[in-house]
């Protein structure tokens, strides 16, 4: 099924329904919730308001640690009065933080809506603080503000900020960008290694001292579709992008691996030898977990930016029909290969006017509506079945061994609705 992919254009050039209006999405700060687990010696210091702190707490949902490796320097009335003060105050808070947390090797100063509106120069602050705390601590700035970033774009902004910091290399190598759970990342590295592809560097690195470099002989692949700025930053450093569908499901993973294997001249036998068993497992797992999804319709609200690749998985591997596929932004350079695999039919929308989109979703009455947490219960109460999108960024869903789990995530709400024999009043 996969081999025809490069010759057909599918929905690669499909028109976009562009919407402007109220957006029901998280801001980029949310990405800190998973990034801080991935980067184990990093602290994420948001310079913002009480709202930012409240968002992080609400999105994290749980408070596992007394002192997590993220926090908010909350701007107060006095900080807003004079700029010079805010920089001094920031230095003081950083000093306090770093003196208490000697385990911190990377400090991210994360910009927020208020810090950007008052034009607090966090890039300058990062430079100044880096000079002060180097080499033990490296201080980097990126924006997670809602006026600049949507949800997963926070990870993009973080990784893009790391790229200029990477040392130069002339070596032929592969960079894979995107934070994955360790177990999934190890599976990915295992597959690449078995095909003899290497050396491989993963961005972000787990620790500050883990080696990573970039240069003109670097090729890179993305395992997350929201890494637009990272994509651009790597290209600026001379690296070349290997475009491919994203590694969701059996088909996506095979296509992603195939593109990289082709780049590294891996022969067909080797490719088949390495992928045959996990491909077969993935196919069986999807068939089993996704049986409920067959011939069902799906409507995806724009949320995590994973919507197009997931729609590709749901329509091609799980037998669903997509009515609308919304994404906060559509970058065809990155999601084009997935769009090309999606058959005609669905509306592709970019941006959001949530009330209008809700009307379309109610009209469509899809068997499954994928949306954010703010919309899920209200839509359930209207009789729609929903899958909340944030689970898709918190759960391991990439590559072969998770393909069945991914289908299962979408199937569970449908199975649940079938199971329940009492109607809500």
């Amino acid at each position: 099924m996969m081999d025809g992919a490069h010759t057909q254009s599918g929905c690669r050039d499909a028109p976009l329904l562009k919407e402007r209006g109220q957006r029901e999405v998280f801001c980029g700060l949310t990405a800190i919730v998973w990034l801080h687990r991935k980067m184990q010696d990093a602290f994420f210091l948001v310079v913002g308001s009480r709202t930012c702190a409240h968002l992080l707490q609400s999105a994290a949902g749980v408070m596992i640690f007394a002192e997590p490796r993220f926090g908010t320097a909350i701007l107060e009335e006095t900080d807003l009065a004079g700029m010079a003060d805010a920089q001094v105050e920031l230095d003081r808070e950083v000093e306090k933080l770093l003196s208490r947390r000697s385990d911190i090797r990377r400090l991210f100063l994360v910009g927020s809506c208020p810090s950007e509106v008052i034009k607090l120069d966090l890039a300058k602050a990062a430079e100044r603080l880096s000079a002060k705390y180097n080499p033990h601590v490296n201080v980097v700035n990126f924006s997670g503000s809602g006026i600049e970033t949507t949800f997963t774009e926070g990870e993009d902004a973080c990784l893009a900020a790391l790229v200029p910091e990477l040392p130069e290399t002339q070596d032929r190598q592969l960079i894979v960008a995107g934070a994955l759970p360790d177990v999934v990342q190890d599976q990915m590295l295992g597959l690449l290694d078995d095909m003899g592809i290497g050396p491989v560097t993963v961005l972000p690195t787990m620790r500050a001292d883990d080696p990573a470099a970039v240069g003109p002989n670097t090729v890179f692949a993305l395992n997350q579709p929201f890494l637009n700025e990272t994509h651009a930053a790597l290209i600026r450093r001379g690296a070349r992008h290997i475009a491919a569908p994203f590694p969701f499901g059996e088909e996506g993973t095979t296509a992603w691996l195939r593109a990289i294997a082709n780049e590294f001249g891996v022969d067909q036998d080797t490719f088949d030898r390495v992928t045959a068993a996990p491909r077969d497992r993935a196919r069986r797992a999807v068939a089993q977990a996704g049986a409920t999804l067959h011939d069902k319709s799906v409507f995806l609200f724009p949320d995590s930016q994973l919507e197009i690749p997931l729609a590709r998985f749901l329509t091609r591997e799980c037998g669903m029909t997509a009515t609308e596929i919304g994404q906060p932004y559509v970058h065809r350079d990155i999601v084009g290969p997935d769009m090309a695999l999606i058959g005609d039919g669905p509306v592709f929308s970019e941006g959001q006017d949530v009330d209008k989109q809700l009307e379309r979703a109610r009209d469509a009455r899809a068997d499954l509506t994928v949306c954010g947490l703010g919309l899920a219960n209200p839509l359930e109460a209207e009789g729609l079945t929903t899958k909340w999108a944030i689970e898709l960024v918190f759960t391991p869903i990439h590559f072969y061994e998770q393909a069945g789990d991914l289908a299962g995530l979408f199937a569970r709400p449908l199975r649940r609705r079938d199971l329940l024999k009492v109607d809500a009043p």
């Binding site: 998280f26 801001c27 409240h54 900080d79 920031l90 809506c113 503000s145 703010g374």
Partner: protein
Amino acid sequence: MKLSVWTYEGPPHVGAMRVATAMKGLHYVLHAPQGDTYADLLFTMIERRDRRPPVTYTTFQARDLGADTANLFKTACTEAVERFDPQAIIVGASCTAELIQDDPGGMAETMGLGIPVIPLELPSYQRKENFGADETFFQIVRTLARPTDRTGRITCNLIGATALGFRHRDDITELTGLLMEMGIEVNVTAPYDATPADITRLGAAHFNVLMYPETGEAACRWMERELGQPFTKTVPIGVGATRDFLREVAEITGLTPKIDETRLRLPWYSASVDSTYLTGKRVFLFGDGTHVAAAARIARDEMGFEVVGLGCYNREQARMIRALAKDYGVDALVTDDYLEVEARIEALAPEMILGTQMERHIGKRLGIPCAVISAPVHVQDFPARYSPQMGIEGANVIFDTWVHPLVMGLEEHLLHMFREDFEFHDDAGASHHGGKAVSASDAADPVAETAPHPPADSAAMTETADVVWHPAAEKELKRIPFFVRGKARRNTESYATERGMAEISVDTLYEAKAHFAR
């Protein structure tokens, strides 16, 4: 600038959302950047609300700044009124929109929307969620309520219940029944379930019941002044407070206080012999001022606990809480810094915490049981069953809730007796709680392995103490039940230090025990 890790309260516009979401027929147009819509999920997920909060966000982005954020607001306002057809709207700005100074209130008032427009000024960089709720409700009342004839029969308004409140839904039901027994009808409950039209009828009641000072006091004070309605000062949480409340209502109305206590069980449950083990349990209380004050009285006078510390996170109640702490002979902790609360709990080593969801996490880490008495709370604190805090049933619910996290009466005595038993030891945990039984050898120091900051009980602390523990004394200390071990260690060390002793032997341990005996 102040570093914050976890927060007890959200920003003030979230308080305004709690009022708007609790009401019907009211819409909130909020000038705010993309991302601030996260607040919707507090209501749809934590409280399991089945509809979206009635909030329209302008969700401006960077490219709108300096261009037409004002127009964006006007469009959002017009469309919201058309789509949702509210009886009135409240308008305001979140923290970021406050900085760009578009004056949403002023704009909305000039738009000729044909419905009352209530502008909100909520200083995001100075105040917090409770203030936001209190101020928003006050502005709604001030704009819409007018003096009107009193109802023929004696009626009251129930004031202060909001969305996301701790057991507000059930407190309303309980109080309505309680007042009914005295022959008092409820005129309007607000903000919870009230429409703007209901707000205009507030003046018909003979008096107000201020359920939650945090979110209703400003409105009650205004109504007292402008509508001549007295309001109740006692919050009826606990047996004593409920009786006092009804006496207060009787004084205001001239009716005879009446209370049907046939379904009240707390006093007997507390007096029954199984509860002997509750005697002098050392509890620490933290939450909003109102709930902490009520809980302190219950803890001491109705459960027989010892209150070893208390505090609140909302500065608005600081004075009341300080006075209360004095009365209880403890230091008040008024802070919204979670780490300070944790440090205080660690230092006091209570046997139980009565707190918020934050203290539940602290308790989990320190191995101290915790019951929740105040917002902020999580999804499990919005139970399906009827479980008020106020009135008769509230007292029953509180007895059950507070006792549940503790090891049960006879079980505690058995733990004393068999504390080194291979399967019936401290680390095995309470038999009525989940989790698998841990054998004594596996349970070396589970807390230290999972928590980044080991509690006071760990070996590291022993080395840093001024006094040295003999191995035999250390071993003896470990035989003391875990829930009093921290206290025993501290008492023994302070006993030794006061007497200039450098070493602690088994004898020192027992001398200290005798010294501190109560």
